[in-house]
């Protein structure tokens, strides 16, 4: 009988399909290998030390809970830019409750995570009920949460927390891993479980893959979107606790670039910004890669501010790479030079050259007519 079987040329999966599942890991793993080789050549003595890998792991651990949740957010075609402010706000509130109101740590820590969940709930409701696009909605709430944190803290640095809180941020389980690393890895494992074995994960993929289809088949799209943002908020709250413990201090301006750092890690790990495709293990690899990269920059004594340049470049390269991989039709392009010769690209090329020329000319003009400097440095 078989209506659709006759044409199947080969049974089972093709090599490409088999590989595709692992691409999420191969990408960051290759970059990690390249980084290790580079460091082996440049600065092996200081980079390849056990104590340095301890630092790398602790740095990475801070981002693991958020990367886990962000993976699910991005799988739904969403984004959350507010996580840094949520982490700062929850850490500030926890700090106040601990220091000024004498809350026990075992109340203050869950409180911070719950507050994070509440912030995530607000984000989710803004996106689903007020229909504000996620990019704008969470960007605006990033400002709002940061503002609230500043209002509460008024520039004060809260420090010297109870030892349990400090242990969450930088404790060490004797003969085993640091406490934050255990917490981070636990959230990744939980995330993997959520992603593959629960309705939340399944519906996240369906919503990101085809929102209309998810709706037609009876998936409560908006409710599950809210759940996803609540999970994201809770993990940002947990990260706030871990950060406060790690530094044993917190202020309203803490955690400035959490959002982009976490998104970079997730995207490097092969999760598609276009929704539907994600990898929890890839996100773990992405977090490790970014931690190793930043550590390498520090080891090489490159100025701190280059970090955000490096993160930005990594995001662009990863997204461009995965988009290129997803391209089904690469025929008839005839290579780079052929692409440059198309009329449309020539026009674009002239335009680029014009802009560059204007910038160069203005610089030249400035130097030509330069007066006395009032010495910035």
């Amino acid at each position: 009988m078989s209506a659709a079987t006759e044409q199947t040329p080969s049974a089972g999966l093709t090599t490409r399909e088999r590989l595709e599942g692992w691409l999420a890991l191969i990408g960051p793993m290759a970059m990690i290998a390249a980084l290790l080789l580079l460091m082996l050549a440049l600065e092996p003595a200081r980079y390849f030390r056990l104590s340095n890998f301890d630092i790398i792991l602790k740095d990475a651990a801070l981002y693991m809970p958020m990367a886990m949740a962000m993976t699910i957010v991005i799988v739904t075609r969403g984004i959350d830019l507010s996580i840094g402010s949520v982490a700062a706000l929850t850490a500030i509130v926890m700090g106040y409750m601990l220091k000024s109101h004498g809350f026990p740590w075992w109340v203050a820590v869950p409180l911070a995570i719950s507050l994070g969940a509440l912030c995530g709930l607000v984000n989710g409701l803004i996106i689903t009920k007020l229909r504000v696009p996620d990019l704008i909605g969470t960007l605006a709430m990033d400002l709002a949460y940061r503002g609230l944190a500043l209002v509460l803290a008024k520039g004060v640095v809260l420090s010297r927390f109870p030892e349990e809180v400090v242990a969450i941020g930088r404790g060490q389980i004797p003969g085993f891993l640091p406490v934050p690393v255990v917490i981070g890895l636990t959230t990744i494992v939980a995330g993997y479980f959520i992603y593959t074995r629960t309705r939340l994960g399944r519906y996240a993929i369906a919503i990101g893959s085809n929102p209309e289809a998810a709706d037609l088949t009876g998936v409560p799209v908006n409710r599950y979107k809210v759940y996803v943002y609540v999970l994201m908020g809770a993990m940002a709250g947990l990260a706030g606790v871990m950060l406060a413990g790690k530094l044993n201090a917190v202020q309203a301006t803490s955690a400035p670039f959490f959002n982009l750092h976490v998104i970079a890690a997730v995207v490097v790990g092969g999760t598609s910004l276009f929704g539907g495709r994600g990898s929890m293990l890839g996100s773990l690899a992405g977090v490790l890669l970014l931690a190793m990269m930043i550590n390498a920059l520090v080891t090489l004594r490159i100025e701190f501010f280059w970090q955000s340049v490096a993160s930005g470049v990594v995001i662009i390269l990863s997204v461009a790479f995965y988009t290129w991989l997803q391209m089904k039709d690469r025929d008839g392009q005839g290579g780079m030079m052929a692409a440059l010769r198309t009329p449309e690209n020539r026009r674009l090329g002239r335009f680029i050259l014009t802009i560059l020329a204007i910038v160069a000319a203005l610089f030249a003009l400035g130097w030509l007519f330069a007066g006395e400097t009032s010495a910035v440095r």
Partner: protein, 268 residues
């Protein structure tokens, strides 16, 4: 072929269906009868009211006047899920598949099979996979080369099979509505899809197919209902007619309407 037009009562009927959207009359007193084990094709030009009619049948729209009856008893439907509860489901033109999910995950999307693990409800992926494989094989005669690939890597006919399997997995399903099942398919995939429709019909379901392709309609249907400007202009038995006659009824070029109505009354 089956003989649906004999003494047996129709499985599903629509009686005097009218639907107005504001001042626009989309449907005007339309009748429809479909028997178990037959394929009824609905044809008509754009705007003839085909889609509105099946949206009423599947509970998406509610009629301004008229009633949907199953086994002679009127059905109260206020939503698509009511229709599914009564055994009426639809396969949409877009198939409503999430391309990144596996065929099994798509088949059970929104109605996952679960089991309990340490007291919490988790997805039973293994059972969903086995059930999906069994449904595709036993009900539709389709074996996918892998159950673990994303649905986007399947051929058009296989994707159609997954969408149909989702509907027929429900053992209560009695009426399957298919909206333009072959619209986006090449000749080979079209042939496979028509075979799937035959397989479903042979299991005793009433299949109602909307199609623009008269070739496909003649290849698969037992009867053809022609719609024009919100009215039923006729129902013909596929074996007793040809595409020229049907085309004439669709565009209203020939005064064959009366004859067609007559034939329809005979048939019903």
């Amino acid at each position: 072929m089956t003989e649906p037009t004999t003494a047996a009562a129709p499985l599903i009927s629509m009686r005097g269906i009218s639907k107005r959207f504001g001042g626009v009359t989309a449907l005007d007193g339309v009748e429809l009868d479909a028997w178990a084990g037959e394929v009824l094709a609905i044809v008509g030009d754009n705007g003839a009211g085909k889609s509105t009619l099946i949206k009423i049948l599947t509970g998406v729209f509610q009629p301004t006047a008229g009633a949907v009856e199953m086994d002679g008893a009127p059905l109260a439907m206020t939503s698509h899920s009511d229709a599914i509860a009564h055994g009426i489901d639809a396969v949409y033109q877009t198939l409503a598949l999430a391309d990144h999910l596996t065929p099994a995950a798509n088949m059970f999307l929104g109605a996952e099979l679960t089991r309990r693990f340490l007291g919490i409800e988790i997805l039973d992926n293994a059972r969903m996979r086995a059930e999906a494989e069994r449904t595709l094989r036993d009900r539709l005669g389709v074996t996918l080369r892998s159950m673990d690939v994303p649905t986007e890597s399947l051929s058009g006919g296989q994707r159609q099979a997954v969408a149909i399997a989702r509907a027929v997995y429900d053992s209560k399903l009695r009426v399957l509505v298919m909206d333009e099942p072959t619209a986006a398919l090449g000749p080979r995939e079209t042939a496979r899809t028509l075979k799937l429709i035959e397989a479903v019909r042979d299991q005793g379901l009433a299949v109602i197919v909307i199609s623009h392709s008269l070739d496909d309609v003649f290849a698969i249907s037992d009867r053809i209902q022609v719609m024009r400007r919100g009215k039923r202009v006729g129902v013909v038995r596929t074996a007793d007619t040809d595409s020229k006659t049907v085309l004439g009824m669709i565009i209203g070029a020939h005064p064959t309407e009366h004859a067609a109505e007559h034939a329809a009354e005979h048939a019903a």
